[in-house]
């Protein structure tokens, strides 16, 4: 048996699976510390379907906790970025174009230093050790706790990033270091920004990962603990501690893959309604449609491969108001305080959930507390919700034909069974825990990232070798051989090595073989 858990901003959902069968599902409030919410979810699962902790073979956790920290510019540590590249790159210094609130939240400091490589591996300028020492002293003085290091052409030659990392570790042993060649691909600004985001999350990742491991141990579960990555595959918790940025797209990826699994639809729009927002993505042949060109996270341009998702401020906790005789819903939300503030729980704030209960669409809290709301008002509010979501689906649609829409997430009770512009609306079983299901059915990947000499005319052969190796690694890691596909191939010529040396990165992904116990 496996357990899939989704830690969202509002709710922590969990499912217990045996093979393809969902044995139990739960939904509980996300706690500020993340872990006590997970502990509640595990207890609740066991109450619903008794199991021996030792019989759990794996626990998969998907979380939007890290990306939310960036979007909310909260829970981040004081972070600096050191770029090696002077005298070039000065016209576009580190952190250029970053939003002010995020810069303030990480007490950002950017340093431009000498160093970096040309495309052919020769140096742009040598490292200036006194300069690095001055930076180290300044970092210490300003209480910086995490540092991102980037260097021009580090995907071709990572030596300088590694050397500066070692120097800073020596001077500032307690500071976290993230180097850009381990985070991103060619494209200095985007790679550097992704590295800064990773750096700003390192302390939070430490706390959360330690908490997760402890929580499971307390529950008597000693199975491997995985976190979902951007592409829907799994990483072990130790990796997540160092590369929290790799979890960024896992929320929408899990919700869309969960929706595909539950609904059986391969081509559709997926609407995931949570407590605060509704997120709309598009499934094509069962895979989330990727965002193109600029993927901006919290206002920062990055080159992550992420699903294309559009969010609108409609969720179960959205505030309902009457303005100039018009009912409005959202975009602000009571969020995780739903159980204190919503009227069905005895609170004073009218939320979207109150409308759903008043309309008899949901049995949450005490319906008598919303019985007095005028039925025309309720209808107007729910119509406003349906219209906003339909408009968002419409914006994601790229052909003039109506698309089927799959509704998932606890908040989808707010939506009607028909939406303007939708070919049909599907609300699959277990819809409210689709993200946790997506985490539990996560795929497993195999990657090859190595320098190959490529003799003239031998490129296809070399790529085939690399692809086979990646597939073999995915299978060895537990992927079903019939399901493994190559999802990414990247070549970076290493011009300074003889023999047409090329860094080849190939990634293969397949379905995890499901246990039948």
């Amino acid at each position: 048996m496996r357990i899939g858990i989704d830690v969202g901003g509002t709710n922590t959902d969990a499912v217990l699976l045996s093979g393809n069968t969902i044995l139990a599902e739960t939904k509980s409030a996300t706690s500020a510390d993340v872990t006590s919410g997970i502990s509640d979810a595990l207890n609740e699962l066991r109450r619903k379907h008794s199991f021996e902790p030792a019989s759990i073979q794996a626990v998969m956790i998907g979380t939007t906790h890290f990306i939310n920290a960036i979007v909310e510019a909260d829970r981040l540590c004081p972070t600096a970025v050191v770029r090696l590249g002077l005298p070039v790159t000065e016209a576009l210094p580190p952190l250029v174009g970053w939003p002010d609130n995020l810069l303030r939240a990480i007490s950002a400091r950017g340093y431009l230093c000498h160093g970096g490589h040309e495309f052919d591996g020769t140096t742009i300028s040598a490292l200036d050790y006194s300069e690095i020492n001055r930076v180290a002293a300044d970092l210490g003085e300003h209480g910086i706790r995490s540092v991102a290091i980037s260097s021009v052409f580090s995907p071709v030659n990572a030596e300088m990033e590694a050397e500066v990392a070692a120097l800073l570790r020596e001077k500032l042993p307690s500071v976290h270091i993230s180097t850009s060649h381990e985070i991103g691909r060619i494209g200095l600004l985007e790679r550097e920004s992704a590295t800064v985001i990773n750096a700003a999350l390192r302390e939070l990742a430490d706390q959360v990962c330690t908490g997760l491991a402890t929580t499971l141990a307390h529950a008597g579960i000693h199975a491997p603990l995985y976190l979902s990555q951007n592409d829907g595959t799994l990483m072990d918790v130790g990796y997540a501690r160092e590369y929290p940025v790799a979890t960024f797209a896992s929320g929408p990826t899990n919700s869309m893959r969960g929706a595909a699994f539950l609904s059986g639809l391969e081509d559709c729009a997926v609407v995931d309604v949570g407590g605060t927002t509704s997120d709309v993505g598009i499934l094509r042949s069962g895979f989330p449609r990727e965002a193109t060109a600029e993927v901006s996270v919290g206002g920062v341009r990055t080159n992550f491969r992420m699903p294309d998702v559009l969010s609108v401020g409609i969720g179960g906790g959205s505030r309902v108001r009457e303005e100039n005789a018009t009912v409005t819903v959202g975009p602000d939300s009571v969020g995780y305080r739903l159980r204190d503030e919503a009227m069905v729980f005895g609170g004073q704030t009218m939320t979207a959930t109150d409308l759903a209960v008043a309309a008899g669409k949901a049995a949450i809290g005490d319906p008598s507390l919303v019985g007095h709301i005028d039925s025309a008002f309720v209808r107007a509010g729910l119509d406003a919700i349906a219209e906003q979501v339909a408009t968002t689906v419409d914006r994601m649609r790229t052909s003039s034909n109506p698309v089927p829409v799959a509704l998932v997430g606890g908040g989808s009770i707010l939506l009607p069974d028909e939406l303007a512009g939708a070919a049909k609306v599907v609300r699959p079983d277990h819809y409210s825990v689709a993200n946790a299901v997506g985490a539990a059915i996560a795929q497993i990947g195999g990657e090859v990232d190595r320098i190959f000499p490529i003799a003239p005319g031998q490129r296809d052969e070399v790529l085939d070798t690399a692809k086979h190796e990646a597939v073999d690694k995915a299978v060895a890691a537990g992927a079903d051989p019939t399901s493994v596909e190559i999802v990414d191939v990247e070549e970076v010529p290493i011009a300074y090595l003889p023999g047409n040396a090329t860094r080849v990165r190939v990634r293969a992904v397949g379905n995890l073989i499901l246990d039948n116990s």
């Binding site: 590249g85 742009i124 003039s400």
Partner: protein, 369 residues
């Protein structure tokens, strides 16, 4: 006729310039960030029509030369293009009244804006390529009698060189390329200085505003759920280009790409959805020839663009990735680039391709659309 470029225009300009870049010309988003910072400091830049130039005005075009795959890492210091222009001014003994793009596709649509913002001079709404090309002699300026020489080239240290190869523009390209590689694979130049009368005679007019307009067309198509290909075709009908259409859709299954002799060269392979059809695109910085199942469909100087299938966003050659779902969209080149003297310089043979130039709209349609 004259108009101002503000930071709000830069998104559309970068998108349109990426389209006209036909895969090359360098990542315009880098140029966009450069210009956006400069406009924030110095205020808007004025763009004037070639018709507004006096006959004796001095226009010094400015540009970047090098491999786009290098530029994305080796970002400029910021002093290089102005330093090149000023070196040429010193050599000529007079000041530029305006600058102009030599290439409206890719980052070179934005370098003159970056220069103009720093120097407080206007930018001429015209260029010498009507798209992007990989080499300096591939200019309507050169084809119709303006020489690239003398050329000034600058690096980030403020080191400059003046190159003068007389009326041999191909040799000028060779010299400048060697220097650009020598200083790290990307460098900045000022060349093809000309007066107002020459600009009116040799430049392709209105191409900067065209880039803006096509960028806006793609954005609005997405906002209004219009098929981006159809919207582009419509927008092109009343321009010098006249015609554009989709020639292939599919998924990228291979990208072979390397940096050689100062260029990004390679081949992308796209397989059609639910068919056995394959489209290959060869590139030298820009997309040069598109073949479907081995048959040539579009060849230079006609424009080959690759658009993201669903959103219509143009994809540059360095951003092509395995697995992307794309549309190949061809655009007819303006008539002044299809003349026999133009084809000698920018036709298939100039790229070593053993192909005859046939306007793509005259070829039989491939079966896969």
């Amino acid at each position: 006729m004259a108009f101002e470029i503000t930071p709000d225009d830069l998104g559309d300009l970068a998108r349109g310039a990426a389209l006209l870049g036909t895969g090359g010309g360098g990542d315009p988003t880098i140029g966009r960030t450069l210009v956006s910072e400069a406009l924030r400091r110095n205020g808007p830049v004025t763009v004037i029509s070639p018709d507004e130039l006096s006959d004796d005005s001095l226009i010094i075009p400015t540009a970047l030369i090098g491999a786009p795959s290098v530029l994305v890492e080796r970002l400029p210091r910021g002093t290089e293009p102005v330093s090149a222009l000023q070196a040429l001014e010193r050599h000529l003994g007079c000041k530029a009244t305006a600058t102009m793009p030599i290439e409206c596709g890719g980052i070179n649509s934005t370098i003159p804006l970056f220069v103009a913002s720093q120097l407080g001079i206007p930018v001429v709404d015209a260029d010498g390529m009507g798209r992007a090309f990989p080499e300096l002699q591939m200019e309507t300026f050169a084809i119709y009698g303006v020489t690239g020489s003398p050329l000034a080239i600058s690096d980030e240290h403020g080191h400059t060189a003046i190159l003068d190869t007389g009326d041999d523009n191909k040799s000028l390209e060779g010299w400048a390329r060697v220097l650009a590689i020598k200083v790290g694979g990307v460098s900045y130049i000022a060349e093809y200085s000309m007066n107002g009368a020459e600009a009116r005679r040799t430049a392709i007019p209105g191409t900067l505003s065209l880039a803006l307009r096509l960028g806006r067309t793609l954005r609005e198509a997405r906002e209004n759920h219009r098929d981006p290909a159809e919207a582009l075709s419509d927008a092109l009908t009343d321009t010098l280009y006249g015609h554009g259409e989709s020639i292939f859709t599919g998924k990228i299954v291979d990208v072979e790409r390397r940096t050689v002799e100062g260029f990004t060269r390679g081949t992308a392979t796209i397989t059609g959805f639910d068919t056995d059809s394959t489209c290959t695109i060869d590139f030298q910085n820009e997309f040069l020839v598109a073949r479907v199942d081995g048959n040539t469909r579009v060849v230079v100087p006609d424009l080959i663009t690759v658009l993201h299938l669903e959103t219509g966003e143009p994809i540059t050659a360095e951003a092509l990735r395995y697995g992307q779902r794309v549309r190949v969209f061809a655009i007819a080149t303006p008539q002044m680039m299809r003349t026999p003297e133009a084809l000698n310089v920018i036709g298939p043979s100039a790229f070593g391709l053993d192909e005859e130039f046939v306007p793509f709209e005259q070829r039989t349609k491939a079966t896969v659309l």
